[in-house]
Symmetry: C2
Subunit: 450 residues, 2 copies
């Protein structure tokens, strides 16, 4: 590379120099705790997702064309190459729309790409739980901060879990490999230049594929950088850098503001419901009214919800035809939450999307955008026999302001993992993740999830 | 998928329905001839590129992490998986910046991603030369027309060979697999959602990696679509479709205008020089003045060139430090062309980029942007001992208006291929490609290039 370029101290180089040198002992306790919560929740999602039919299509291709038997595909009793297993595990982690969501200026599902990448590399050589958690936090930082440096990114039509996910995965993987600052910057550049995923594909199998492909691209970026492959050292802030071409507004300083003191993983949220996170306040509202008022579904006349405008633009699908599409329908979500008192995996199947009782109920839902509401807020009024039942959700369950309790997160994990790996193994996974910072070899954990 | 979506007749569906049904007999003779020229030129570039040090880094990773022994890496006596060999061959085809360039509103190097994808799949099962040429033309059409539907794409900072290359490769691969219109549209959506490559990485190893990654993403898209994986059927024209998010101007009708009568492969150009195509008029000018005036390099006082503004913005590197960077320097290119009377592979090495004689000469070059010039035009004035030598290039060599002759293209191929596979094999490859429309099994050709 050009010496002149190397001497420039830009945001990318500063970020990577700092992240390459940071040690586990510098992570605040809350970041470690949130890392463990993230690993536990994501493993449950990936195990539950491994049974989704979308994975059958993907695995048929990867088993034909994919690599050596190197890295575990969770829940499938199968190994694929280091570049292929992440595609499967990333897709499995995201396919149920049940995985975690960062809530600090981006709505990024960082763990599916990041952890799918890290688990593949943790099978390549011995990695301790502490090394793993540190790389996870560093990758999280890269993905979220790149998003913050490109504030118009989501509005531009990109699916952040694919685009920013690639960068999160690449930097996490590079940190796990112990790259120095310059090589970590190359890894970031190689990951960014593979960054893709279109919102146009929402409601199709591509949506969760974005997470898997991002994970694989991240692993490839880190392995290439380790071998001396190069990229621009100003990949974020450069003249044609990420924050300029993936966004109409550029804020590269976001890459380094409070770096090392603020850890974005501490603003990670976990989903109690298996659908787009912006739907959660409405679901909370339905479940709240249902439990307070003993609603007779047959007599519901109207369901009026006031929501943040993004709820309409992201999840405005009025007549979802498939389970995947129903995860992006405020109408479907309100209907099933009111009928079942739940919005978990069984509420978002192809069958429920075409269930006449659900269809009849969702046609009673009217959603109104209200700019004065927060993204985690909703108001709902259900009219039954002429009487109106109202509730207001201040902060949806699973947000940073109203997090899922340890008990709720454990229960979610067990419900996800137990049908796939059995009760005993699921409990052992949970216990290992609780002590992940002391685990001598991450492969012990991986073996339990095979 | 949603029936309602399927019923929409949009640009993507129309394009894919037509391209899925088109037969080899419908290809005009010129498209077939240009297809053969494209295959010959690209194979030479990929063979010559296979020896580039960048490939060593890449292959080290792919040999560790990559797949089974399924598809040939040209010039390396090596096979990798169906998803991995295209990364290597696509990168090898593009790494010397010597591969072909489409010249009809885009500056797309379509063949590196497209042919790297097709050659991998042609090793998977028996494919005739005619099937291969048809898929190549169809993929070319997809890449170029997507670019024309997104006219602000290049200006936005994307490296077209990565972004549009992914779509070209995916649709070509889908056509080779014989997908029907709907599955071809899914392949296009899956390819588009992997579409990436940043101009910020120009001058680094990532630039040619874009071509390889695009090839691999295209193969994956087609294999997934064949197995029933889905994506948006309005991936180009949709509300958040390709022509809206990858461009500030949307022209989706370009996808289908004159489809089937105009074949974009007939507007493909071939490079006599191993560098960015916009530099070619300047190089032509240097070589012309040198041969007319018997210039004494030691006495050159000034080199003034007037060029299209894109020459400055794309190739304005004043002090290139590496061979890869020198391929994007109008100063370096003018200097070596004047000194050597050539601008081939030996003129763009790391050594030449730091050669004191070249450095001294390139500092005498002054380049001025002139909007009145075409992208294939340049004016040059060389001042020697006070006397001025002037020339004007109307159309650079290798453009559609001034194509490389068959003889020149053959000579370029032999110069590229012979050092890697020997004279005899190179001649046999050339003869097979000349009769490619009658070749019974493309694997015969592949075997010669191993």
């Amino acid at each position: 590379m050009n010496d002149a370029i190397q001497e420039i101290s830009g945001a990318t180089r500063e970020f990577c120099a700092r992240m390459a040198s940071v040690r586990f002992a510098e992570l605040p306790g809350r970041a470690i705790d949130e890392g463990k919560r993230g690993v536990l929740d994501w493993l449950g999602c990936a195990l539950a997702g491994s049974r989704h039919p979308t994975l059958d299509h993907l695995l048929a291709v990867l088993q034909e064309a994919g690599g050596k038997s190197q890295a575990t595909v969770f829940g499938r009793g199968l190994k694929l190459g280091f570049l292929d297993a992440p595609i499967a595990n990333g897709q499995a982690g995201h396919v149920l729309d049940y995985d975690d969501t960062h809530m600090g200026g981006t709505l990024l599902h960082a763990s599916s790409p990041t952890l799918a990448a890290l688990f593949a590399l943790a099978e390549r050589e011995l990695m301790t739980g502490a090394e793993f958690l540190l790389a996870y936090a560093v990758g999280f930082e890269a993905g979220v901060r790149t998003g913050q440096s490109a504030p118009g990114h989501h509005k531009g039509g990109w699916h952040l879990t694919g685009t920013l996910g690639s960068i999160a995965a690449g930097v996490a993987a590079g940190k796990l490999l112990g790259l120095d600052g310059k090589r970590l910057a190359h890894a970031m550049a190689i990951a960014a230049t593979q960054s893709a995923g279109m919102q146009q594909n929402r409601g199709t199998m591509c949506k969760s594929f974005h997470a898997g492909k991002a994970a694989s691209s991240g692993v490839l970026a880190a392995l290439l950088a380790e071998r001396g492959f190069d990229g621009s050292l100003e990949i974020i802030e450069g003249k044609r850098g990420y924050c300029r071409i993936y966004s109409d507004v550029a804020a590269p300083q976001a890459l380094t503001d409070e770096l090392g003191s603020r850890w974005e993983i501490t603003r990670n949220g976990h989903k109690p419901y298996a659908c787009g996170v912006v739907l959660h306040p409405v679901i909370d509202a339905m479940i709240a009214i249902r439990s307070q008022a003993n609603i007779d579904c047959a007599r519901v006349e109207a369901i009026d919800v006031r929501v943040h405008p993004l709820v309409i633009s992201i999840t405005g699908v009025e007549e979802p035809a498939t389970g995947l599409q129903s995860k992006f329908s405020v109408y479907h979500s309100a209907a099933v939450a009111l009928i079942d008192g739940a919005a978990r995996i069984p509420q978002y199947t192809d069958e429920r999307a075409s269930d006449p009782a659900v269809i009849a109920m969702r046609r009673k839902v009217k959603a109104t955008a209200d700019k004065s509401l927060g993204i985690d807020q909703a108001e709902a009024v259900i009219t039954v026999d002429g009487s109106r039942h109202r509730t207001f959700i201040e902060h949806a369950t699973g947000t940073v302001a109203n997090p899922m309790s340890e008990m709720a997160l454990d229960a979610k994990f067990m419900a996800n993992a137990e049908p796939v790996i059995g009760r005993d193994r699921a409990q052992r996974v949970r216990d290992l993740v609780r002590g992940l910072d002391r685990l001598a070899d991450v492969r012990e954990l991986i073996g339990l999830c095979a």
